[in-house]
């Protein structure tokens, strides 16, 4: 399945790009996708799929938009 991943803030800098489409095996979760990309586990990210915050255990589906949310700083 193909997942569209958009990157922001520290994660964007670590990954060196704004977005990409990545093919993952069925059963991949938001958290396992983060690990599979080799992003640092020390960074406490939250997860959003299709604009909604979700637990890391959420299974991804073809066409999902996935975003890793590092600690936010708005306001």
């Amino acid at each position: 399945m193909n997942v569209i991943i958009r990157y922001f803030a520290q994660v964007r800098e670590l990954r060196g790009r704004d977005e990409e489409t990545v093919t993952f095996p069925a059963g991949t979760t938001a958290a396992s996708a983060y690990a599979a990309l080799g992003l640092p586990v020390a960074l406490p990210v939250a997860f959003a799929v299709n604009l909604e915050r979700v637990p890391g255990s959420t299974e991804l589906h073809d066409g999902d938009e996935l975003v890793f949310l590092p600690p936010i700083g708005g306001g």
Binding site: R6, A9, A48, P71, G73, G74, G75
Partner: protein, 136 residues
């Protein structure tokens, strides 16, 4: 009015968007870029947003306010990109019949924004930059 803006925010325009003759209280909170943080001298800020989700979350906060304080209206604009010291980074305007609900709704809006809305802040210093997370 719920917006992300790369340009300086016109506080009066946000007020005009939510004001009305049904309101006896028009309360504006302006969060501005400060020249120091956590013991460091800050020379400038920049904000980055996951825009579609940030706008969706701000819309939810507005709907929650309308449900919790019937008749209360919210306008909110958050800057993205570089923000000079002293400039508004976020403007929250609440229009309400009475001051008590205006203060309550305004506080609710800024606290929820800081905990939920996907916006990131990078502080600039004389010797580098850092991403700064909100304290919970």
């Amino acid at each position: 009015m719920v917006e992300l803006s790369p340009h300086p925010i016109d506080v009066r325009a946000v007020e005009a968007a939510v004001a009305g003759i049904d309101c006896g209280a028009l309360l504006s909170f302006v969060g501005t870029a400060r020249d120091h943080n956590r013991g460091r001298v800050v020379t400038g800020l920049e904000y980055e947003a996951y825009a579609p989700m940030a706008l969706a979350e701000l819309g939810k906060i507005r709907a929650e306010i309308a449900e919790r304080w019937p008749g209360v209206r919210l306008g909110v604009v958050h800057r993205v990109g570089a923000v000079a010291l002293g400039e508004p980074a976020v403007v929250i305007v609440v229009a309400a019949a009475h001051r008590a609900e205006a203060y309550d709704a305004s506080r609710y809006a800024i606290e929820e924004l800081k905990s939920r809305v996907p916006v990131w802040k990078r502080e600039h210093y004389a010797d580098g930059t850092d991403w700064i997370a909100n304290r919970s």
